[in-house]
Amino acid sequence: MSPTALTRPSIPAPPFVVPPPVVELEGLSVAFGRGTHRREIIHDLSLSVRPGECLALVGESGSGKSVTARTLVGLTGPGAQVRSTAQRFDGRDASAWGERQWSRIRGREAGFILQDALSSLDSLRTVGDEVGEVLRLHGDLDRHARRERVLELLASVGVPDPGIRAAQYPHQLSGGLRQRALIASAIAADPAFLIADEPTTALDATIAAQVLRLLGDLKGGSTAMLVVSHDLAVVAGLADRVAVMRDGAIVEEGSVQAVLQDPQHPYTQGLLAAIPSRSSRGRRLTVQVQDHNQDQDQDQGRPVPARDFPTPGPPALEVRGLTRAFPGPDGGRRTAVDGVSFTLHRGTTLGIVGESGSGKSTVARMALGVEQPDAGTVHVRGRTWAEHRASRDLAARRSVQMIYQDPLQSFDPRKTVQQVIGQAVAAAGTPRNARPARVRELLHLVGLPADKAGSRPLELSGGQRQRVAIARALAAEPEVIICDEPVSALDITVQARILDLLTELQERFGLSYLFISHDLGVIQHVSREVLVLKDGIVLEHGPVAGVFDAPGHEYTRRLIDAIPALPAPRKDTPHP
């Protein structure tokens, strides 16, 4: 199946004003492997980027967006078979360029920013050496002038104390500063073309917003930019044009306004509908797309009833004054969680928001009863974990379950799905002869086809693994499920299906979720109440509407401001 591309004219301008594109690609196809292993992953793709313009390539994992971006600078990878009807760089025919020609282009005329600066910078070299490498390779500056230029560059991307930072190693810098240093190294030679591949994916929301602003500043002028991202919202603030990729082809291309507000292709419509937010509360995130995934939900845009939980049930989990400290690097003790209290009511979802290091996972582990607090209590079924332990109450133990961001790490890779779930079913006290039927029932509940029972975790997709994890949690017929970033590693449409599944199960079984996420959109979509955690302290706690509409704390306001805004769909709100 080859999806048809819907191309629209971009903003019309008189031909004599429009400068020629910096990069042009026509009819690109890329394949890896040989013989029967040969797999074509890019099919007949064309794109171009003009000076001063930012094109965004958007798609889910495996759509081929990164391979396309790398091909633009001749870095497709070893063993790749690249063919195109035309490839031009700055007006020159680049289709037959080899390593020698490309190495003169890279760095000098084309800069490349990768995600996760920690692994994208050489950890054994100083930041200054890394940034200065481009100048050493392409410029004729002497050592002293190079150092001056490196400090200028670091300052220009907003790195404070560049003199100190340049002498440090990547692991000594914070994530945001590292990403800035990586950007400085990409723009060091003032290239005419800049590629940013998932530039904000590994960063906390507030840091990501700063990096996006920096990239926006770079865009001004004559630089052509290509941004690769899985996140439509990130793209919305930065790009002029968007190309939506799926299965190695562009399915829709046009101006940001047009594509995001009035998407034509069903896949784009599905992507946009799948983004969780305030406005998506109470409705399903999945709409029917002509999808090849077999675990696709078929219920289309079905409204989810009774979503705003008018009447909270009795408390399912009560947390009072939890405090926990860990030994710090300097020999002292660092308080990870400080006096956290909340009540999770039956049948509702409590969202916990916080950036990395805020203590959210420690709270989760203490709520689960596997980590002992230094002070404070967790009440489950009317008694504390300590009391349950004393009376060896296994029913209480089973009534709180947990699912993780990466279920793969919580599975024995040699066990089949049947065995993984079967173990949990056995632990729940199901009689031996009833276990196979119970496993089948659980698989059905989480929307996994019965023939997946024989698969091993590594053979499953990310979404399917998370379904297995949910089935395992359900085996014990729990009252509370603690969800620690359960959808953070998933593609947007898969995330939508898992969130819909969790909602469905909640209604069906009256489950309570303690839902931890760094993604405010997800939290607003699923939660009735939200708790904002920073440095182990609860900054805010209340209904979603209250906290997000009238944040009582400066930090919450910054978090909310950092949510990349999508333009509202045109059909709902007419634009001036």
Binding site: P78, S103, H171
Partner: protein
Amino acid sequence: MAVLRRVLTRLGVGIGVLWGAATLTFLAVYLIPGDTALLILGGPDARPTAETLAQVRADYLLDQPFIVQYGSYLGNLLQGDLGQSYRLRLPVAEAIGQQIGATAALAAAAVAVALPLTFAVAILSAQRAAWVRSIVSGVEVVLAATPTFIIGFVLLIVFSFGLRWFPIGGNQGLAALVLPAITLALAVFGTLSQVLRNELEDVLEQPFILTARSRGMRDLPVRIRHALRHAAIPVMTMTGFVVAALLGGSVVVETLFSRQGIGSLALASVYNKDLPVIIGIVLLSAAVYVVVNLVVDLLYTLIDPKVVTA
């Protein structure tokens, strides 16, 4: 400051290792059946009188209890006195000192061949076409699996007996050093090169390599300036293996090529049950290990900025 503390800690551990080695060899000698006094006098063939035997026992404290013997042995060691060679009638230190130059030259020459060869082969063959890798890797496995004396024989037969490029043995001149050094080097190269290439291939998959290439750096400079340092760190832990291969290999190589050196001294001492020399050589090997590991440890701190604590 941290580096100094690190050095001192390691030195302390090293002294402990030396003490352990000295004690273990002493125990081994003490427990070996046979009359030490008889050995000192030249073995049973010497047919010494009972008086001479008694005299020797008294001189060497052999009639004293274990703890006294051990104490005097350690005391002598601390003063640098390794004792007298039974066979050579020389102080052990002098006997070893006469031979150490030849072995050091051999080991240094072997390292000078092995390291550049390892780095060149690993850097050039990492992540290359499958057939290149399988040929190179096959040669390495054969070299790593073949006993040193067979490699030496083959080299001897081809280059000394056949082509007559190099002398068959002896210590005279550089030409005599070539084949022994290559033999010893090849024994180290096979294993080291395999490990280094595997490490390089892991490193070349890292995102920072892509970043370096996206700056316009060519393939070979990327391998040398970026990948090599990362790959060299795990390979440095192989230093112990290298030292062992050089020490053990020198026994074989020196015998095979009739060279003088510590290896042939060790072998002759074992044949003649010349215990003080054997103890001396064991202690020397232990000392070499301690010093080399200390140097490697310091190199870690130089290469990897993240290694700061001891």
